[in-house]
């Protein structure tokens, strides 16, 4: 084996600020995605803090108005709360999770993992990141305009059509980021199919590459349907058509169907790449081959693509449908456990008897195991129609999807930043501060979301800004307030952890300790063959791999 050892890579000229902002290089595009998605994450996180403060105790705290930029308090607490919910949901999913995983991680890692110099269409890649930024700008306008959007991230009619809030802003944010996603999907699918290093077969791909291929396939199939749905919403509100307005013969459930036809699979667009990142980190840190690679890839990831489009109706269990459909959709939804189960089995199997290195990246990845377990198990009652009719409108659902979507996926992104930090900067972000931030994050998030499960089972409605003792009873209200206190304290601890983590990243990027190439001893191309830190063109020499090479070849 002729491993190129370029510990002191030739100095690359940076090319000035223009070469950063207007870059078409996939690595810099990836970093731009990371910056943009973390910005969305921070602002959306502040909204979450506002939401938690408002729910701290029954009655108005009156602070939520300040969080959504309504300094003069023209909005009622309820309206301001709705806007905070809108921004939190829309920005976390469309601005942070999807771009963080399929933008940042995919851009930085896919070409370097498959031995390519760049993506297939570098300028279209730059167009993607710019459309994403324009979407973020539109979303941020929420805080300065009158008539702020207040339609959550779902935009359900008839409310979204009748509200005085600016639904157009929501629609265009979805359009811009959705178009960016479609272009990204086109780009990466083409890249993975055509630009693998000579000799690299389908069973020699990194799990993360597979997860991007399958995740973006879902994105390519379903995002256009969401784009169509929100376009019709725009027409209904501003041009006067009647797709979703029952007064004009339309059908509000039509929107819910079209919306969830995309937005349930969107969960897997987030889940799959997050899973891929965890796989790659765990295999490297445990020095193990992926357990049951083919079952996890073809049965798990590809199987999930096939089933992802058949389950959306479970979001409409309580919206009204015949019972035979409820039974059918319970079946298809429970079927999701099969591919996910294959992946989880393979993940735990990879860890089994491994020589595990514990560092911050592995700590976050390990936490993902636990989150996946609890998030997955609490999903099973929600798949079953007979239980969902009781849970659907409570904070039980809220806690469930935060375990999977918010915590599992976000921690996978954070783990990936720590893991690939040396490849990006030549320095490490793994230090005492990052470990402290990790434990604050663990304690904070668990404290935030477990109480929501408990009061959810007791009937605490989700999305509501208030619960009054007169309605729910004094004893119950007092009980809920106790748990809301816990949850809000948890959110504060999480905020401290996230703050430390981000400060740690910025500090480490410029002043962190230098580490030599491939500090984790990975066998994957982005560590063994790429220049270090990875520079223009990625590889000092053309890469080709032999038939017995895999990125997880730790046994040999």
């Amino acid at each position: 084996m002729t491993t190129a050892t370029y510990d002191h890579a030739p100095a690359h000229s940076g090319g000035g600020i223009g070469a950063w902002i207007f870059t078409t290089d996939h690595k810099r595009v990836g970093i731009l995605y990371l910056i943009g998605s973390m910005a969305a994450f921070i602002v959306a996180g502040l909204m979450a803090i506002g939401i938690r403060i408002e729910q701290f105790a029954p009655g108005e705290s009156g602070l939520i108005q300040y969080f959504v930029g309504d300094i003069g308090k023209r909005m009622t607490t309820g309206d301001a709360y709705n806007t905070a919910l809108y921004f939190h949901g829309a920005a976390m999913i469309l601005g942070f999770l999807i771009p963080g995983l399929t933008g940042f991680a995919a851009n930085y890692l896919v070409p370097t993992m498959i031995g390519a110099k760049d993506v297939a269409f570098p300028r279209i890649n730059a167009l993607s990141v710019w459309l994403f930024y324009c979407g973020i700008i539109l979303a941020l306008l929420t805080f300065v305009i009158p008539d702020k959007p207040d339609v959550m991230w779902t935009g359900y009619p008839p409310y979204s059509i009748k509200t005085a809030g600016n639904t157009a802003l929501y629609v265009f944010t979805v359009h811009l980021i959705g178009f960016s996603s479609i272009l990204g999907a086109v780009n990466f699918i083409t890249t993975i199919i055509y630009m693998r290093a000579p000799g690299m077969g389908w069973n020699q791909l990194n799990m993360f590459v597979w997860s991007i291929l399958t995740g973006l396939t879902i994105q390519l199939i379903f995002v256009p349907v969401l784009a169509a749905a929100v376009t019709l919403l725009l027409l209904d509100k501003y041009v006067g058509t009647g797709f979703f307005d029952s007064a004009r013969g339309g059908d509000p459930l039509l929107y819910e169907n079209l919306f969830w036809f995309y937005s349930h699979p969107a969960v897997y667009v987030i889940f799959l790449p997050a899973m891929g990142l965890v796989y790659d980190i765990v295999a490297t840190m445990a020095k193990k081959n992926i357990f049951n690679y083919k079952a996890a890839v073809y049965g798990g990831m590809c199987g999930l693509v096939v089933i992802s489009g058949e389950v959306w109706v479970h979001h409409l269990y309580v919206a009204g449908m015949p019972n035979w459909l409820r039974i059918g959709m319970t079946m298809t939804t429970l079927m999701i456990s099969l591919p996910v189960g294959l992946m989880v089995l393979s993940l735990w199997g990879t860890l089994y008897k491994g020589a595990i290195t514990y560092n911050v990246a592995m700590m976050y990845a390990g936490l993902c195991f636990v989150l996946l377990l609890f998030g997955g198990l609490t999903g099973i009652p929600l798949a079953v129609a007979s239980m969902t009719v009781h849970f659907a409108r409570t904070s039980f659902v809220h806690a469930h999807f935060h375990f999977i979507m918010a915590l599992f996926a976000a921690y996978a992104v954070f783990a990936s930043v720590y893991f690939w930090f040396p490849a990006m900067t030549g320095r490490t972000a793994d230090n005492a501060v990052s470990k402290l931030a990790f434990w604050l994050n663990v304690i904070g998030t668990q404290l935030t979301f477990w109480p929501l499960f408990i009061i959810g089972v007791d009937g605490m409605p989700r999305r509501y800004w208030d619960y009054s003792p007169e309605v729910v009873g004094a004893v119950r209200s007092e009980n809920w307030t106790f748990y809301h206190h816990l949850s809000t304290y948890g959110a504060a601890i999480t905020a401290a952890g996230i703050f430390l983590m981000i400060v740690g990243w910025v500090y480490s990027a410029f002043a962190g300790a230098h580490v030599g190439r491939n500090p984790w001893g990975s066998k994957s191309l982005e560590w063994t063959h790429a220049s270090y830190p990875i520079g223009p063109g990625n590889f000092p020499e053309e890469v080709a791999v032999s038939a017995d090479w895999t990125p997880y070849n730790y046994a040999k």
């Binding site: 002729t2 207007f22 009158p146 802003l169 265009f172 058509t241 004009r248 063109g537 053309e542």
Partner: protein, 255 residues
């Protein structure tokens, strides 16, 4: 395990281009113009935004085209375009699903289709429009043939003919809309007008996008030369729009 390495093809500078940023900014201006006009009814700022959009888009497209000289792998473009068109097909499928839902539920409730308030549609015009679009696909095919043979005069001529036909198609749509509007058939009239305007309007927007790519090809080759992959891309997109029209016309006018 062995990994072979050879030494060529280094790139030791960071690539960059401002064209994608300009095009994205144009898209942002469009959304702002729409929002200002329809939501806040602020005409002047809306016009300013729309005015900013045009030079940004033109500059971005021109810069992009001027950079297309680098070698591209044909297979990439074919697959990329196929995937993109696959996405477009799903947008239309979403719209058709909405149309079918409205149509089936209305027919089941009221038992009649088209619902009350629908004027007699002109069935000759869509046939003419179909003929126009099919002809334009053929003329553009002719243009591509000339392009491959290197005949610039013939190429420009056939592209121009295709543009004229495309514009004629959009004009027909406008003519039909005006008439229907005067007969009181507006987007909110009934369960048929809603998908009617949405489907035909959405298709017409695609025709306009196709015309923009044709114009880019035309102006680009008048000024200098235009990249082969752009000529092909414009053609495949146009044929796609043409095929979609068969579905729109047959579903909306003749069902």
């Amino acid at each position: 395990m062995s990994i072979h390495a050879d030494t060529h093809g280094h790139a030791h500078h960071w690539e960059w281009s401002w064209a994608p940023a300009a095009i994205s900014a144009a898209a942002l201006c469009f959304t702002l113009a729409f929002t200002l006009f329809f939501v806040y009814e602020a005409q002047l700022p809306a016009i300013v935004c729309a005015g900013l959009m045009v030079p940004l888009a033109l500059a971005g497209i021109a810069k992009w085209m001027s950079e297309m000289g680098q070698p591209t792998v044909p297979a990439f473009n074919s697959l990329g375009l196929a995937l993109f068109i696959f996405g477009e097909i799903l947008i239309f499928l979403g719209l058709f699903a909405a149309y079918w839902t409205l149509r089936i539920s209305t027919s089941m409730d009221a038992g009649a289709w088209p619902p009350a308030g629908t004027p007699e549609l002109n069935h000759v015009l869509p046939l003419i429009m179909t003929a126009i679009l099919v002809t334009s696909s053929m003329t553009y095919h002719q243009a591509e043939k000339c392009f491959e043979e290197g005949g610039k005069g013939g190429f420009l001529f056939w592209v121009l003919v295709s543009i004229v036909l495309g514009v004629a198609f959009v004009f027909c749509t406008g003519y039909e809309y005006t008439h229907l509007w005067h007969e009181g058939f507006k987007p909110g009239t009934n369960q048929f007008s809603t998908p009617f305007y949405a489907l035909t309007g959405f298709h017409a927007t695609h025709v306009v996008v196709g015309l923009v790519t044709f114009l880019a090809v035309l102006v680009g080759s008048i000024i200098g030369s235009v990249h082969k992959s752009l000529v092909k891309l414009a053609g495949v997109y146009w044929h796609f729009v043409d095929i979609v029209w068969f579905f729109v016309a047959s579903q909306v006018y003749f069902w």
